[in-house]
Amino acid sequence: MNTTTDVTTDARADARAAQIADEAGERRFNELLASESRVEPSDWMPEGYRKTLIRQISQHGHSEIIGMQPESNWIARAPSLKRKAILMAKVQDEAGHGLYLYSAAQTLGVDRETMFDQLITGKAKYSSIFNYTTPTWADMGSIGWLVDGAAICNQVPLCRVSYGPYGRAMVRICKEESFHQRQGFEILLELMRGTDAQKEMAQESVNRWYAPALMMFGPPDEDSPNSKQSMAWNIKRFSNDDLRQRFVDMLVPQAEILGVTLPDAALRWNEERGHYDFGDLDWSEFHEVLAGRGPANTIRVSRRREAHENGAWVREAARAYADAQAESRRGLVA
């Protein structure tokens, strides 16, 4: 009997056809990248590209969701009704940004429940900056000015990222983030125009957030082995060190307007480079926080898990109600 042979031949033909389709897909993918065009969900893409993007976009989404916590901490204690309203709007924006990003990640074939599971079981990473605590009101200013400022610096180039749904999410996010940075700057400005105690509070907060904000761009280029591939795929547009430099250059004149001192003795204008020089960062701290040993890692993830688990009955009840409504509509029609 040669049935087995036929099956083998068919399988070989299928494998060959799949290979030809992959080769055509890969050619098209490379053409899209070369022409700075966009890759859309239904296009062929290399597995590594898909995996890297799922990781990058979901981590970014998780950062937005976890990023609500350090600020929601201050909503009830913000010094005026106006400040409370602004802070609520900002936290609501972060929730929205998380949702845009989760939607973008889903177009790559990961489902939302999986991403939630990864976050609440501590398997997924998110930006380390949110593992720092916010003990003073001035921290709302520092988060807006420094943390959101660094995030914007990182995100504006991502509006031109090669993956269409990610780029579109970033355009929307960047539009909304600009208010976040300005409101933070104004919180600090108001404190710096206040009493000595208020000025001191602003300065103390900037002292704590400056270095962690600079570390948000990730490790130095020589210690960032995946950057090169990501840049070739146009899912990262500038290197970590380039973005960090750009951020410091923007920060110095802003700090002068605020009247705060950036806590970096090595910070000075370098005429030759046309940039500010700045001191080395403590990367052992970065790796510690990344490894889960930051000031607030445990509480951030456990809060998120509680909220997710406590909300389960609401999600299920809403689903049951929708199903029942649909059922009774069908009954009426019949």
Partner: protein, 102 residues
């Protein structure tokens, strides 16, 4: 035929695509997607998620699974018809470039 953004059965709530009309006289334009248990909640969630800064005066939602898209693998042949038919554009007619009001 495929539905864009339909990622399987593990979701508690189905996925909806959201279209927002920025102001009267304009079309509804695709803004993004969201999860919601039913159409009423989908419209409310769409308002909260996509019109926080007065981006719209009207919202449409449609279940992502109800959208039929052209076959992504056949895009070349499917959209072939207009290729080489530049005469369908006004710019094809250059003799009249200098003629006013044409």
């Amino acid at each position: 035929m495929t539905s864009p953004g339909d990622s399987g059965m593990r979701e508690t709530w189905p996925l909806w695509e959201v279209f927002v009309r920025a102001s009267r006289g304009l079309s509804h334009v695709h803004a993004g997607s969201l999860h919601a248990p039913d159409e009423i909640m989908a419209v409310r969630n769409a308002r909260d998620l996509y019109t926080r800064r007065a981006e719209g005066v009207s919202v449409w939602v449609v279940r992502a699974a109800a959208i039929t898209a052209s076959d992504p693998d056949a895009k070349d042949s499917f959209f072939e018809s207009p290729q080489g038919k530049e005469y369908r554009h006004a710019t094809y007619y250059t003799e009249s470039d200098a003629v006013p009001h044409l």
